[in-house]
């Protein structure tokens, strides 16, 4: 792998929330290096902490949450130490921007679409008047909105779901951020529109020189757009690697489970692979591998000690005891083996 600049570096981040008198640990010592210009997908179930993790980069944690320990280094500064809104405003929108899930609720219904993009530009870029207006029209064109002059004056309700998501993206990129976080950008959209929005995001990444983070629970969506994939479970990144590495050579039992529960890999008429049980309760301390109680192939040590990262390749590592040289050989489920074989056949042929 060629040397890449690290744009954001998270080390041993712990995020806690206070809820009804109890303390919940949402992120448990997660570390991540984000490379400049890459697109990273963070995949996990709801409650795995993927949204909380990325929201902490922008100081958007709910009032009852706080960064307990660890660091987030961005442009040479540890932004996890930021306390005031004033500090965060330098980052939020300007440097790191976010596209939210539901385009139906993330726009202001009382303001014209153009005004909403204009607002972002005026606030962050210090351009005003006609110049700003021109810039808005340019951006609207960039995100694939036809007749931007006419659309500028229209209101969100006059736009379809896909078009609204384009406007949301326009607002996010209006201030030339360095990192764009897309939180489930396509879940609320239809398949055909979904594919178009992903294509758009890919094109914009190149044009605006963005580093993008996709947050999603659907592995099918990220196969197309992600350079790297991080799998998150119970507040920790349990496997990270290049897209191909995670799909074809995944190592953590949770990655296997997540992949094989996809209906695309199921055999018709047979039961679909399903993960038993529920994610761990984060109010309690988790011992060992957090996935062990749901893992039918769990080893004894999985219940006792938390696994460290084992490297699979320079770009691929996973937190599972299965990679320890002392571990017995455990075969992944059938559908994963099929995926692997296909890959090996194609790579050799």
């Amino acid at each position: 792998m060629e040397e890449k600049n690290i744009i954001l570096s998270v080390r041993d981040l712990v995020i806690k929330f206070r809820l009804r008198g109890d303390v919940l640990t949402a992120i448990r010592e997660a570390s991540l290096d984000l490379y400049e210009g890459e697109s990273l997908a963070i995949v996990g179930e709801s409650g795995s902490g993927k949204s909380v993790f990325t929201k902490s980069f922008m100081g958007l944690l709910d009032a009852n949450g706080w960064i307990d320990s660890g660091s987030i280094v961005f442009e040479g500064q540890d932004i996890s130490q930021y306390k005031t809104e004033k500090d965060w405003l330098k980052i939020r929108g300007d440097k790191i921007a976010m596209v939210f899930q539901d385009p139906m609720t993330s726009l202001n219904p009382l303001k014209s679409v153009g005004k909403q993009v204009l607002e972002a530009i005026e606030l962050h870029q210090n351009i005003r008047g006609d110049k700003a207006r021109k810039k808005v029209i340019e951006i609207l064109e960039d995100v694939g909105i036809d007749e931007p002059e006419k659309r500028y004056r229209q209101f969100p309700h006059e736009f379809s779901g896909g078009m609204r998501q384009r406007v949301v993206i326009a607002i996010a990129i209006a201030c030339n951020p360095r990192i764009l976080i897309c939180d489930e950008p396509t879940t609320a959209l239809d398949v055909t529109i979904q594919a178009q929005i992903l294509d758009l995001l890919k094109a914009l990444q190149e044009k605006y020189n963005l580093t993008t983070i996709y947050i999603t629970h659907d592995l099918g969506v990220v196969a197309n757009v992600a350079d790297r994939i991080a799998v998150m479970y119970a507040g920790d990144i349990i496997e990270i690697g290049k897209c191909e590495e995670v799909f074809y050579n995944g190592q953590h039992p949770y990655t296997w489970a997540l992949l094989s529960s996809l209906p695309q890999l199921g055999v018709k008429g047979e039961d679909l692979f399903s993960i038993k049980g529920t994610p761990p309760n984060l109010f309690y301390e988790i011992k060992g591998d957090a996935f062990a109680p749901r893992n039918p192939r769990a080893l004894k040590i999985d219940f006792l000690e938390r696994p460290p990262y084992f490297s699979v390749s320079p770009s691929h590592k996973a937190k599972t005891w299965l990679l320890d040289p002392r571990a017995p050989e455990v075969h992944p489920p059938e559908s994963i083996q099929v995926l692997r074989q296909q890959w090996e056949v194609e790579s050799n042929g």
Binding site: D190, Q194, S261, P263, Q264
Partner: protein, 321 residues
């Protein structure tokens, strides 16, 4: 199986559903839709949001009024004005599972009441004891424990809540279940659980499903036959695998070309087809609903039918309309 062996449980003929009373704001949500569902099969209805797929489901279960056409269930017409007895019977024999288990369960009621509500309405049980038995059996059938009866919905996870949703429909011992996006609000791992539960119940009780969804890979996995709906009209209908392998109508092709694969290489090689409704010349050559080959229906005019027939003969070449 020969189709003559199969019994049609539900037949929808030229269904039309309109919203808005006056001419000015009248909106035709479903126009001239015809299909039938065989007993014991899973029939899929796919399309984008606003295409009318939910409206069709709601029209069948008598939540939406129909403006034209017929819905025939087990030989009897069930749309429009029907007598009270039949209405009661239909309510029992057709049930629905809703999309969002977070929103579709009464937060103030215990599971016992939620599951029994249909029974209370129809009073089709002899005494309290029998009702209790029926409810407990329904819970066991969906993999929940009878002691959950005295709990409230907020005490359950999303997957368990959807199981409660399934329990309250099967407690009525229905024959047809309309599942409107039953898993799209659920997490990937829980989706698999609910899908497995649905097919298990189908095997055990001989249920028939109308499965409404926009997630094409789920539909491919679970349905036997599938209809593709676009702006209130069904454009193509066939056995699921056949349709996914050789879609004919340009909208079906566009839809299927967008399905995400959990396989980076396939995904990057994928070519998106975009559907442009202006490719049809329907002005002077209107389309018909034609059975182009056995059990494969498509909405097309004569010129398009010629192209589609060629496509069926040699499916590997590329065609344009």
């Amino acid at each position: 199986m020969d189709r003559k062996d199969k019994e049609k449980l539900l037949e929808v003929k030229n269904l039309r559903v309109e919203f808005g009373r006056r001419k000015k704001n009248k909106f035709v949500a479903v126009k001239d839709v015809s299909f039938h569902i065989y007993k014991g099969e899973t029939f899929g209805l796919v399309g984008e949001s606003g295409s009318g797929k939910t409206t069709i489901g709601r029209a069948i279960i008598r939540l939406n009024e129909t403006a034209g056409g017929e819905i025939i269930f087990d030989g009897k017409r069930i749309n429009g004005k029907i007598d009270k007895e039949l209405d009661k019977e239909i309510t029992r024999r057709i049930q629905m599972i809703f999309q969002d288990p977070m929103a579709s369960l009464n937060e103030r009621a215990k599971v016992d009441y939620i599951v029994s509500e249909g029974l209370y309405n129809l009073k089709n049980y002899r005494d309290e004891k029998e009702r209790k038995e029926m409810v407990e059996k329904a819970l066991l059938d969906v993999g929940l424990l009878p002691e959950f009866l005295s709990r409230f919905p907020h005490e359950f996870s999303g997957g368990q809540r959807q199981r409660i949703g399934v329990a309250r429909s099967i407690v009525m011992e229905p024959e047809l279940i309309i599942a409107d996006e039953p898993i799209s609000a659920l997490d990937v791992s829980i989706r698999a659980q609910v899908l497995n539960l649905m097919s298990e119940l189908q095997k055990k009780k001989g249920l028939t499903y109308l499965f409404i969804a926009h997630d094409l890979s789920v539909v491919r996995f679970i349905t036997d036959r599938v209809a593709v709906i676009y702006k209130g009209e069904i454009v193509e209908l066939a056995a699921t695998e056949k349709l996914y392998r050789h879609p004919l109508h340009p909208y079906t092709r566009a839809l299927f070309s967008a399905i995400p694969h959990p396989d980076p290489r396939k995904e990057r090689a994928k070519v998106l087809e975009i559907y442009d409704p202006s490719c049809h010349d329907y002005e002077d050559n209107p389309p018909r609903w034609v059975e182009i080959e056995a059990e494969h229906f498509v909405l097309a005019n004569e010129r398009e039918l010629d192209v589609y027939r060629k496509m069926l003969e040699s499916p590997d070449e590329t065609y344009s309309l």
